[in-house]
Amino acid sequence: MSGVHDLGGMHGFGPVNAEPAEPAFHHEWERRVFALTLAMNATGKWNQDMARGARESLEPVQYLSSTYYQIWFEGLKRLLVSASLVDAREIADGRPHAAAAASVRKLAAAQVGPMLTKGNPQTRAATAPARFKLDDTVKTKRMNPSTHTRLPRYCRDKRGVIIAVHGAHVFPDTNAIGRGEQPQWLYTVKFDAAELWGADTTAASVCVNLWEPYLEES
């Protein structure tokens, strides 16, 4: 999706303001949104790519004028409604109007530690041999999908070199829209900064992790 979340290379947002000795959270509601999101993700009603897609689906003006955890909050509400766990009326007044959905795996406190330790590995068995190998020159596809993708706009239709092969990983583009994990080979592609930005850069190179369907032979 070519949304405003895809910020690489844009101008006009001003300088980076780093806060000294920044706390993990700035407000109690941020703590709660963070924990609610992780706990609801653990119900298995959606996957992390769907969650990212939900946050990216905020209208551009809302996305850019929201703080980070406000975006999480909006994304969570959209996921809850689209999974039919709650409806808009319930969100508005905070009271259940319908019975709870069946088969929701509620995360228990005792499961938090093991869940975080286990993590969420994205590697899967490959279903085909890798199409590319180290040092191959590849070209990223020219594309403009309206749904979730992890190929940033700034590196579409650009030439780069494969510098790492990471095995087959869950493919976000299908996983985000309910079409399954469809594991694809994941590569790190190194682009000369000039290929991306012409003379308007202070980087030497930019390295991006890209799935095989984003790439073609150069």
């Binding site: 979340h5 910020l7 690489g8 290379g9 844009m10 947002f13 980076v16 303001n17 780093a18 806060e19 000795a21 920044e22 993990a24 959270f25 700035h26 509601w29 703590r31 949104v33 963070f34 924990a35 609610l36 706990a39 990212r52 850019l64 980070y68 909050f73 766990l85 319930e90 969100i91 007044d93 905070g94 009271r95 259940p96 709870a100 929701v104 509620k106 995360l107 499961q111 530690g113 975080l116 993590g119 969420n120 994205q122 590697t123 992890r150 940033p152 700034y154 990471h166 990983h169 790190t188 900064a193 991306l196 202070t202 980087a203 030497a204 190179s205 930019v206 390295c207 992790n209 890209l210």
Partner: protein
């Protein structure tokens, strides 16, 4: 430690109240409303929420990464392992799990400086650095780190020689990066615990350098 923490947070909250007006109390109310709905529907356990918050506020943070870097500075075999198989080398120190499942170490040298960004969202190695700071998730950083890293680095208060190559890493996948900064001069004979005091979170993202010996001495005076 926790008292200082609360103090910082309080000051910051006041600052933001001035800036954002009534919006924050509105957010408190809206989030509380949603939490009570989800609890009542039986989807979330408040004790699990508290356990999640406690983990990321007190147990996971950049101290973990500092220890990894300091180990690499003192133990050549560990350094080699960290560069070849970062996930396993980091796991050997007990740092495993969520958003650290696929780690890669980026070694800074005299001629190459690495800097990490996530232009699309906020991907960050939680197991070694904790939750990302606000600036890392902000539009100014995500938009410019990838095209003008030298300009961004200057905003963090340092510069690199013109002949140092700046390599940017955009975290578009589950592969997460830890920058291994260069060991500061004048630290010959220091042990791992002493060296860990020199490592900063920003130096492990690539927007900072480790503290110098003089800086550390000044801080502890």
């Amino acid at each position: 430690m926790s008292n200082d923490h609360r103090h910082d947070e309080h000051e910051h909250a006041e600052h933001h109240h001035d800036f954002e007006g009534s919006e924050l109390s509105d957010m408190d109310l809206r989030v509380r409303t949603l939490e009570s709905l989800l609890t009542e529907k039986g989807y979330v356990d408040p004790d699990a929420l508290n356990a999640l918050i406690e983990t990321y506020e007190t147990r996971v943070g950049p101290r973990n990464g500092c220890r990894v870097v300091a180990r690499a500075w003192t133990d050549p075999a560990y350094r080699k392992w960290l560069l070849e198989d970062a996930t396993a080398a980091i796991a050997s120190l007990g740092y495993v799990g969520r958003t650290g499942e696929h780690m890669v170490t980026l070694e800074n040298t005299a001629t190459v400086h690495n800097i990490v960004v996530c232009t699309l969202c906020s991907c960050y190695p939680w197991t070694v650095l904790g939750l990302p700071p606000v600036w890392y998730k902000s539009a100014p950083y995500r938009s410019r780190a990838v095209s003008d890293p030298r300009g961004v680095i200057k905003e963090f208060g340092f510069d690199l020689p013109a002949d140092v190559e700046i390599r940017v890493w955009d975290s578009t996948s589950a592969v997460r990066y830890l920058v291994l900064p260069r060991r500061p001069a004048g630290t010959e004979g220091w042990d791992e615990a002493q060296l860990a005091e020199l490592v900063t979170r920003d130096s492990m993202i690539g927007v900072g350098l480790p503290k110098t010996v003089a800086q550390l001495q000044k801080e502890t005076e």
